[in-house]
Amino acid sequence: MDSLLKVNNVTMQFGGLRALGDVNFEIVEGEIFGLIGPNGAGKTTLFNCVTGVYAPTEGAVEFAGAPITGKRPDQIVDIGICRTFQQIRLFPNMTALENVIVGVDARHRTSVFGAIFRSPRRKREERESEDEALRLLDFCGVKRYANDLGRNLSYGDQRRLEIARALATKPKLVLLDEPAAGMNPVEKNGLRGLVRKIRDEGTTVLLIEHDMKVVMGLSDRVAVLDHGEVIAEGHPEEVQSDPKVIEAYLGTGGAATDGKAGQENSASDEPGTVSARAREPGGEK
């Protein structure tokens, strides 16, 4: 098992804010790797560092043995990493089919002149892209919406369409940013099946997820981020029982004793969440 993605000492500083501090982990080819942590722990910032939206202040990201830090987002896609967004970012006025074809286009090479003069390659690629897009829509269970505009799909289907679009770029590693957010339990279950299917088709998955049930049931390995640092890494069961993880999620004193602990929890949880949110100013709008 080779390591596919290596995150080496990545630090991300926004002015005085340290969103990520010295983050290290490795993802092995063919696994589903879960990345969890409280709100504002730096999960999405880490995604942005890997996918070229941000250049990390320090440290390096390696993909399949080659450094990818400092590359543009579109170059990262060429190399074989694609992502979805926490806040859904489809192309709202394009059909579901067109959304996915934009992803397929990333692997095509028709030039401006090829397009203007309708080169044979353009003809072949256009035909291919439609077949491939339909296959992926089917794979993600949204084929019947192929002709609907992206914005007209339901929330859960938009998430599936976003996954289909990401898979269309034929990534070796796909980064899913909270794919289950806002889904009901049945939809979540369907999503779990989908993520497994993606892995079984040979794509490695890096998953950000808040829903412990989803992430624990799905991941081969898990890393926990808190305040921009990896506080635990390993198999889901190990991580779940790690006192530092429990502390990060439930607050200090949570595991200590009974009695007033509950009150303390809720008291320390709220401000913690608020300040943690404020720590990610450059993140998603």
Binding site: C82, F85, E98, P185, N189
Partner: protein, 423 residues
């Protein structure tokens, strides 16, 4: 397939989903064969368009269409200098609107200084050809026709030059920069001795195609015929781009730049490309304009022209090729005809020439309220889905049924939620 009843309705449905449903079956039945012919001729429809357009100036003569003699029209018949000059003006605006529709309509880059490219094209043509009475105002003396590729090339390069440093900006910021770009180009032409400042360049040579001289008197037809292939080539070029990954990339950037970059779209390069290709049609337009008027000065390229072209693109429908053509006709052709038809009289207290700006402002607001996509919205790509896949369930995984684990989880979530509500 081509003869089936669904075909025309599906075709219309791609553009106007709601309107298409309301068309009665009888209309579809009657129109279907015509539509079939239209589809069957393919590129022949461009040929048809060429023939019709060639026929217009020839046929609109009293000798050929007798009723024109009795017809007491205030508009001089079309072969006269007025009628065809309206057609030429409109044609030039169509070329400009087509170029701008790439930049604003497809790629979503708000360009308020588009007329700067038009100006660059016209000045390039003027400075490269023998400008009659004022020999000092040219770099080289070439036949007018030889300046055409250079006018296009210089415009494309100007597009790249403007685009490269500025296209990292978004939205309003880009709009302000393009506004400034127009002002820079205009003021440069206004102050350079080589361009004769605000007095402009007079006596620009007209092209000669074999025996056809584009001389001043009665040459409008030739200019009109020159515009037809230019417009048709531009339409085909844009149509082909729209229908390829390049066009989809532009639309993706317009829709969501961050998501486009994350899907492998080289955003900055595609934006520069949009500027460059958008500028290319204005190079042709500028070259025609310079030769047609034989005189250009900075006053011919006011900011208002940029706004009017933008209005044409927006009224017609952002990202729509036929919309850009229609918009240009509405913005440039129609007011001239109305003005001439009114015979200098005011309409509702408006002088039609100056009043048109107010009318367009009003029209823009009306269009934006009732048809936010413009009069002719662009079509979206759709596929024919088999009945089976169209009826498919939302979730196709075999894991669709909730497992025990999942039901437990669902109920625990439910309980937790109730617990939370209760506390």
């Amino acid at each position: 397939m081509a003869g089936s009843d669904r075909d025309l309705r599906t075709y219309l449905g791609d553009r106007y989903p709601r309107t298409a449903e309301r068309i009665p079956d009888e209309v579809i039945k009657v129109a279907q064969p015509l539509f079939g012919v239209w589809r069957a001729i393919g590129y022949g429809r461009y040929l048809l368009a060429i023939l019709v357009m060639i026929a217009i100036p020839i046929l609109m003569k009293p000798e050929i269409v007798p009723f024109l003699e009795d017809f007491d029209s205030p508009i001089p018949y079309i072969n006269g200098s007025f009628g065809v000059s309206v057609l030429v003006d409109t044609g030039i605006y169509i070329l400009l609107a087509l170029g701008l529709s790439i930049v604003v309509g497809m790629a979503g880059l708000l360009d308020l200084g588009y007329v700067a490219f038009f100006m660059i094209g016209a000045y390039t043509a003027a400075l490269m050809t023998d400008s009659g009475g004022a020999e000092q105002f040219h770099f080289v003396v070439w036949p007018n026709l030889a300046a055409l590729p250079f006018a296009v090339l210089v415009c494309v390069l100007a597009g790249v030059a403007l685009g490269t440093p500025t296209l990292r900006l978004r939205g309003d910021y880009l709009a302000i920069v393009t506004l400034g770009f127009h002002e820079i180009v205009r003021q440069t032409a206004n102050n350079l001795p080589q361009t004769n400042g605000s007095r402009g360049i007079p006596g620009i040579e007209r092209p000669q195609l074999g025996p056809i001289e584009f001389t001043v008197l009665g040459s409008e037809n030739y200019w009109f015929y020159l515009l037809i292939p230019a417009i048709i080539l531009a339409v085909i070029m844009i149509r082909h781009l729209e229908d390829s990954r390049i066009g989809r990339y532009w639309t993706a950037i317009r829709e969501d730049e961050v998501a486009a970059a994350a899907m492998g779209v080289p955003v900055v390069r595609m934006k520069v490309l949009a500027f460059a290709i958008g500028a290319s049609t204005s190079g042709v337009a500028g070259w025609i304009y310079a030769g047609y008027l034989t005189f250009i000065s900075p006053a011919n390229f006011p900011l208002l022209a940029s706004i009017l072209i933008l209005a044409a693109v927006v009224i017609g429908g952002l990202g729509s090729i036929s919309g850009a053509v229609l918009g240009a006709v509405l913005v440039q052709g129609l007011p001239q005809v109305v003005r001439e038809a009114s015979g200098g009289e005011t309409i509702f207290g408006f002088d039609p020439e100056t009043g048109r700006i107010a009318v367009f402002g009003f029209l823009l607001i009306v269009v934006m309220i009732f048809r936010p996509g413009g009069l002719l919205a662009p079509k979206r790509r759709r596929v024919e889905l088999s009945e089976a896949s169209a009826a498919e369930g939302v979730i196709v995984d075999e894991t669709a049924q909730p497992s025990k684990d999942e039901i437990e989880f669902a109920s625990s979530v439910h309980e937790a939620a109730q617990h939370k509500e209760g506390s």
